[in-house]
C-alpha cells in the first residue's frame, strides 16, 4: 500500500486544517492525477478540493469519518464533476496528448515517466468505478473506507478492486513484467 496515512492519535481528534492539508495534499494530487490523467487538471482540481475542504472544515465531524475518508470523498466528487463538465473521454485524450513536463529535477521526471507515467495514464483510462477504486485504494484507504467513499460495502469494494486490477493488467500487460 502507498504508505501509512497520517494518523492523529486521539480518537475523534480534529487536527488543525494546516496539518491536514500538509499531510494529504500530495496524496490527493496523486489520486486526482490517476483520475484525470493530466498534471495540469490534477493541480486545478486539487486546488478546488482544498478550497471546498477549507470552507467545510468547521462542519467536519471526525466521529463520523476519518479525515482521509472525508478528504477523498471531496476529491472523488470533484473528479466526477470535472469529468461531467468536460466530457471524460475528450478530456482524457486531450490531457494525454498535451501532458506537460513537471518542473521537478530531470532525473526524477525521466524515471517517473519510464516507470509509472504509463501506468497512471492506464488507470485514468479505466471505467469510472475501476479507476476510482484503484485510486482510492492506492492512496492509502482501507477497503472499508473505499466502500464508504464510493457508496458500497467493504466486500463489494474488494471485489470491485480485484476486477479493476484484472482490467488494468489486461490494458498494460507490460506492467507485470
Amino acid at each position: 500500500m502507498n504508505g501509512a496515512l497520517p494518523y492523529w492519535p486521539v480518537s475523534g481528534a480534529k487536527p488543525a486544517f494546516e496539518d491536514l492539508y500538509r499531510a494529504y495534499v500530495d496524496r490527493i494530487y496523486a489520486f486526482l492525477r490517476s483520475q484525470l490523467g493530466s498534471a495540469a487538471d490534477a493541480e486545478d482540481v486539487t486546488s478546488q478540493v482544498f478550497m471546498k475542504a477549507f470552507e467545510a472544515y468547521s462542519r467536519f465531524e471526525p466521529r463520523h469519518a476519518s479525515p482521509a475518508a472525508w478528504l477523498f470523498q471531496i476529491a472523488r466528487n470533484a473528479a466526477l464533476d470535472h469529468h461531467r463538465r468536460a466530457g471524460r473521454l475528450e478530456r482524457t485524450e486531450r490531457a494525454l496528448a498535451r501532458e506537460p513536463a513537471p518542473s521537478v529535477d530531470p532525473g526524477t521526471v525521466v524515471q517517473e515517466r519510464m516507470l509509472y507515467r504509463e501506468l497512471m495514464e492506464a488507470v485514468a483510462r479505466l471505467p469510472d468505478r475501476h479507476r476510482e477504486v484503484i485510486g482510492l485504494r492506492h492512496s492509502g484507504l482501507s477497503f472499508h473506507e473505499v466502500g464508504g467513499v464510493t457508496g458500497c460495502s467493504e466486500d463489494a469494494a474488494k471485489m470491485l478492486y480485484h476486477r479493476a486490477l484484472k482490467a488494468l493488467r489486461a490494458a498494460v500487460p507490460e506492467a507485470t513484467h
Binding site: M1, A16, Y29, A30, T46, L119, V123, L165, T176
Partner: protein
C-alpha cells in the same frame, strides 16, 4: 495486499504503489495553494502562536500549570495598586498614566478563569515569596508605553484570541497606554501560584515576552498587550513548569 494468488497481480500492485507514491505536484505547488487558502481566512485566524502548538507536548512532560488569566481573578485593580513594591514600580514606569490621557478610556480586563479555581489569600496564610528572576532570564525591554488596538468586535477576532506581537495587522486604530515591567508581572504569578497551592511556592521566571490578547466588550474589541511568562514553580519537593499570561499594562489602564 492482494488477495489474488497471482504473482503478476502482486507485481502490478507494487508498481501501482510506487506510481502513486512517486506522483507529486510540481515543486512549489503546495506552498502556493496554502497561501491562497490563507488569503481566504480572516486576518485574525492566520496566526498561530508557537506556544499554542507546543503546550500539549509540554503537558505530557511535566505538570504544566497554565495560570493564564487567573492572576486577574485574584488581583482587583485596587489590589494591584496597593501591593507595595510592585505597585510602586508600575507607577514609576507609567509615563504620565493619568486616566484622562487614555485615548480609548479605561480598558476592559481580559477574560478571567473560573473563580472556583482560585483560593483567595486569607489573613492567616503565609505571604508569597518574591518571585525569583535570575540574571539569565530572558526578559523583554518594555517601553514606558505600548499600543493598544481597537476594532469593531463583529469584524475581528473573538475574545481571548492570542497574537504574536509582530502579527498584529497594520491599519488598526491604536492608542498608547502605560506599561509595567515584567518583574512586576512576575509578582502576580507568585501570588497566583501561592493561591492555587495554598502553600508557599517558589516561582522562578525564566522567560517573558509580549503577546497581544483580544478583549471584546459590547461591540468593541481591543488587542491588549500581555506578558507571557514561563518558568517553574516549586512547592515542597515538587517542581512544575508554568506558562502564564498577565497584563503588561499598568493598573490605571483598567477599570
Amino acid at each position: 495486499m492482494s488477495e489474488l494468488d497471482d504473482p503478476g497481480t502482486d507485481e502490478l500492485e507494487r508498481r501501482l504503489d510506487a506510481a502513486f507514491a512517486s506522483t507529486r505536484p510540481r515543486r512549489g505547488f503546495e506552498d502556493e495553494l496554502w497561501r491562497r487558502l490563507e488569503a481566504r481566512r480572516p486576518w485574525w485566524q492566520r496566526v498561530r502562536l508557537p506556544t499554542q502548538r507546543a503546550l500539549p507536548a509540554l503537558g505530557g512532560l511535566v505538570g504544566v500549570l497554565l495560570v493564564g488569566f487567573l492572576v486577574v481573578t485574584l488581583l482587583s485593580p485596587g489590589a494591584l495598586r496597593g501591593r507595595g513594591a510592585g505597585g510602586a514600580a508600575s507607577t514609576t514606569t507609567s509615563a504620565g498614566g493619568a486616566k484622562e490621557e487614555l485615548t480609548f478610556g479605561v480598558l476592559p480586563r481580559p477574560a478571567v478563569a473560573p473563580a472556583s479555581q482560585a483560593t483567595s489569600l486569607g489573613a492567616g496564610q503565609p505571604q508569597p515569596l518574591a518571585p525569583r528572576v535570575p540574571d539569565s532570564a530572558a526578559l523583554p525591554a518594555v517601553p514606558p508605553r505600548l499600543p493598544v488596538y481597537r476594532y469593531t468586535a463583529s469584524a475581528g477576532p473573538p475574545n481571548g484570541t492570542v497574537f504574536e506581537q509582530a502579527a498584529v495587522p497594520p491599519g488598526l486604530e491604536a492608542a498608547y497606554y502605560p506599561t509595567r515591567p515584567p518583574t512586576d508581572a512576575a509578582g502576580d504569578v507568585a501570588i497566583a501560584a501561592q493561591s492555587l497551592r495554598g502553600r508557599t511556592a517558589e516561582v522562578t521566571v525564566s522567560r517573558a515576552r509580549i503577546v497581544y490578547v483580544a478583549v471584546t466588550e459590547g461591540g468593541v474589541g481591543y488587542l491588549e498587550p500581555e506578558y507571557e511568562l514561563s518558568g517553574t514553580q516549586k512547592v515542597g519537593e515538587t517542581t512544575t513548569a508554568f506558562v502564564a499570561r498577565v497584563p503588561a499594562l499598568a493598573a490605571e489602564a483598567f477599570r
